[in-house]
Amino acid sequence: MTPIETTTVQAQIPTRLFLEVEALVKAGWFRDINDLFLEALRRYLDSHRPELIERFAQEDVEWGLRGRD
C-alpha cells in the first residue's frame, strides 16, 4: 500500500484543551495525539462547509437587520 503523504504542523492550543486531549489518549481512546487531531480535523472539515457557513451567516444578517422578532 502506498504510504499517505503527510505534513507536520505546529499549533498552539490552550493548555486546558491539551490536557483533555492527553487524558483521552492515556485512557486508550486514541493510539496517540496525532490520531486524535486527525479525527478532530476530519470531523470539523466534514461538518464545516464554507459555502454553507456563509449562506447561514447571510440569512442571519437579513434576520438581524429586518427580522420581526
Partner: protein, 178 residues
Amino acid sequence: MLSGGCVAETDTPQVACDAGPIIHLDELSALDLLGEFAAVLVPEAVWLEVSRHRPEAFQREQASLQRVTVEQEEDPAFDALAQALSLGAGERQAIQLARQRSGAFLLTDDAAARLVAESLGLQVHGTLGILIRAARRNQRKPAEVLALLESLPDNSTLHLRADFLAKVIQQFKDAYGL
C-alpha cells in the same frame, strides 16, 4: 435606511442554545444580548461544554441562562441525521430542546447543527444574527454593533472569511447609514 430602536411588535421567543453563541458572545462581552429573549435554555450537555471551555461565561450571569435537562425522545430519523453529520451531544440536545419547546429558536454557530435543525422546521440563528439584531432591538447603538462586528477577528473564536465579514459589515453600515 434602518434606524436603531425599531423594536418589533412581536413577543420575544424562547431560545435553546448551543455552546457556540454563548462562548462567542461572552468573548465579545455581549452575552447580555441574550437577556432579551423570553428564556435562554441551555441543555445539560451544552452547559458542561461551556463550563469546560469558557467557564467565565456562567460567572457573569448576564443573561439568566437556564440549565435544562433534556428529555430524551426516540427519533430514529433525527438520530440518523445527527450521526451522519457528526453532531456532538450539545448540538443534539440543543436541537431536541428547541423541538420540545413550541416556538423556540435554536441558537447555534455550527453549520451542521443548523442544517439538521432547519430540516426539522426549526428557526435557527447564530452569533452574527444576535449581534446585528441588537441594533434593531435597541439593545446597542448601531455604532456599537459595528464596533462589535469589526472586533470579531481579534476578540472572538467565531471564524469568518475576512472578505465575507467585510461584506457583512458593509451591509450593516449601509442599512444604518454609518
